[in-house]
């Protein structure tokens, strides 16, 4: 087994608890291509994997302070569960990690916790990311058909204001106007069947 193969196998084992479980149960003979990695003491591998999750947890703590304040010890349990099967990925990986965790658990949180995690995630986008953040959406045109009753008028065009990074600061800019797609009249099944039979 070359060093590159050994390192790749180790990376997979350390970042996925299911692979660790399968290699623990199997014998070295079952995994001849991973023999060197499998010969490492499984308890030592678990400690190394725990150290890796601890590191990610430390970064998440820093990035999601309000979420931790509202979730308490549950945060550590859920984040550990998440991290055991989701390796780091992409550029600005710790920010992406916090974002993915937030998206994953948002549905399981109460309203106070959801509000906290939303604020933390927006903060990440503003302080750590380089993404545009929508600042405001303002209608600028309405239905103009004479048949429309005033109460049924709906906005058709919008200006969108975004906060976007510029060098080391942010600027607020207006995007070119944006128009809703005009609704097409929908054919009912009955009318389409009629046209087919005729």
């Amino acid at each position: 087994m070359s060093l590159a193969e050994q390192q790749a196998a180790l990376a997979r084992i350390l970042t996925d608890k299911h692979i660790r479980a399968s290699t623990k149960e199997a014998t070295v003979h079952d995994h001849q291509d991973w023999s060197q990695v499998c010969s490492i003491d499984s308890e030592q591998i678990e400690h190394q994997a725990k150290a890796l999750i601890r590191k990610r947890l430390g970064c998440a703590r820093h990035l999601l302070p309000r979420t931790i304040a509202t979730m308490g010890p549950q945060f550590v349990t859920w984040f550990t569960e998440y991290a055991e099967t989701h390796p780091l990925a992409g550029p600005r990986r710790y920010e992406a990690d916090a974002q993915r965790f937030g998206d994953l658990v948002r549905g399981r949180l109460n309203s106070i916790q959801t509000a906290a995690i939303k604020r933390d995630l927006i903060d990440i986008q503003l302080r750590h990311g380089r993404k545009r953040v929508v600042f405001g959406v303002f209608p600028i045109a309405f239905n103009t058909s004479p048949d429309d009753e005033p109460t049924k008028q709906v906005p058709r065009r919008f200006f969108i204001w975004v906060r976007q990074p510029f060098r080391s600061h942010y600027i607020v800019v207006r995007l070119p106007w944006w128009r809703l797609r005009k609704e097409e009249p929908q054919h009912t099944n009955a009318s389409s069947q009629q046209s087919l039979s005729s």
Partner: protein, 280 residues
């Protein structure tokens, strides 16, 4: 190529701290206690505009040492050229007397492990590591020093001991060592090494910088979590290395459970006392 004599010519920076955003204001309130700062390169590279602003402010007031985490000098697949270019840009911006990275790998098989993972102490790993160091130094024209890591796994197939591996790296690359005395102590405790024998076998004359901090116990395993005050055993190792080597700088590396700055200052003052006695 960097050589041992180049290392001897590096300036003596004193005692400083690894920069963390929560104590930014305290650094300026305790300016006399901090001789220099170490900035984690990845915090700046991934940190967006706020981190860039902080970096500019710190560069104006302190000597900064960039400390890389994810160059993955031990990767058999070679270096991530994009990361290396960005790191080179940071080093150029900071203009430090030296910069540092770890003797470890963090990426393999398309997976970003996200943590320092140990290398086997083999000749193959040594070749790979020295080749990657050589590549990094062709891009970043500043003295590089290399840090020992803490590890829970003992990699199989070792052809030498850890001190022999570190000595071989120093001899072949000409780089200095960033000796993390907490890591040294943690590995000795967890793997049952004789710390005095390890110190005797290490190339202490090549140690340029030290890291120190305290960790915590998880059952019978000592964890290098950078989360507590420095224990007496680590102070003892630090003192021995400062007295026996030619150390140019010492950094307190606190990451978790950051206490009021007064507590950090006590540790900085204690390290200063040890260094001043050894350097006088």
């Amino acid at each position: 190529m960097q050589s041992t004599s180049d290392i001897q010519l590096l300036p003596r920076l004193g005692v400083g701290i690894g920069y963390r955003h929560p104590f930014k204001a305290d650094l300026f309130l305790n300016r006399s206690a901090v001789d220099f700062l170490e900035v984690t390169a990845d915090h700046v590279l991934d940190g967006g505009p706020q981190a860039q602003n902080d970096l500019q402010l710190l560069t104006d007031h302190f000597t900064l040492i960039p400390h890389g985490l994810c160059l993955s000098l031990g990767s058999a697949e070679g270096l991530d050229e994009n990361y290396l270019t960005r790191l080179a840009g940071l080093v150029q911006q900071v203009d430090p007397p030296w910069w540092s990275e770890h003797i470890a790998f963090t990426k393999a098989g398309g997976i970003d492990i996200g943590h320092l993972t140990p290398l086997p102490f083999t000749n193959e790993a040594l070749d790979v590591f020295c080749e990657n160091v050589s590549r990094a130094r062709r891009v970043i024209d500043r003295p590089l020093i290399l840090e020992n890591i803490t590890y829970h796994m003992k990699m199989p197939g070792a052809e030498m001991t850890e001190p022999e591996f570190l000595r071989a790296i120093v001899e072949r690359t000409g780089c200095g060592l960033l000796l993390d005395v907490t890591n040294l102590y943690t590995n000795a405790v967890n793997h049952g090494y004789d710390l005095d024998a390890v110190l005797d076998a290490l190339p202490l004359e090549s140690v340029v910088q030290l890291h120190f901090v305290g960790g915590h116990w998880d059952g019978d395993v000592l964890i290098d979590s950078h989360s507590s005050t420095t224990p007496p055993e680590v102070w003892n190792v630090l003192q021995q290395v400062v007295e026996r080597g030619n150390v140019k700088g010492v950094i307190l590396e606190r990451d978790e459970h950051i206490p009021p700055f007064a507590e950090l200052r006590e540790e900085l003052d204690k390290a200063k006392n040890i260094c001043e006695k050894a350097w006088s």
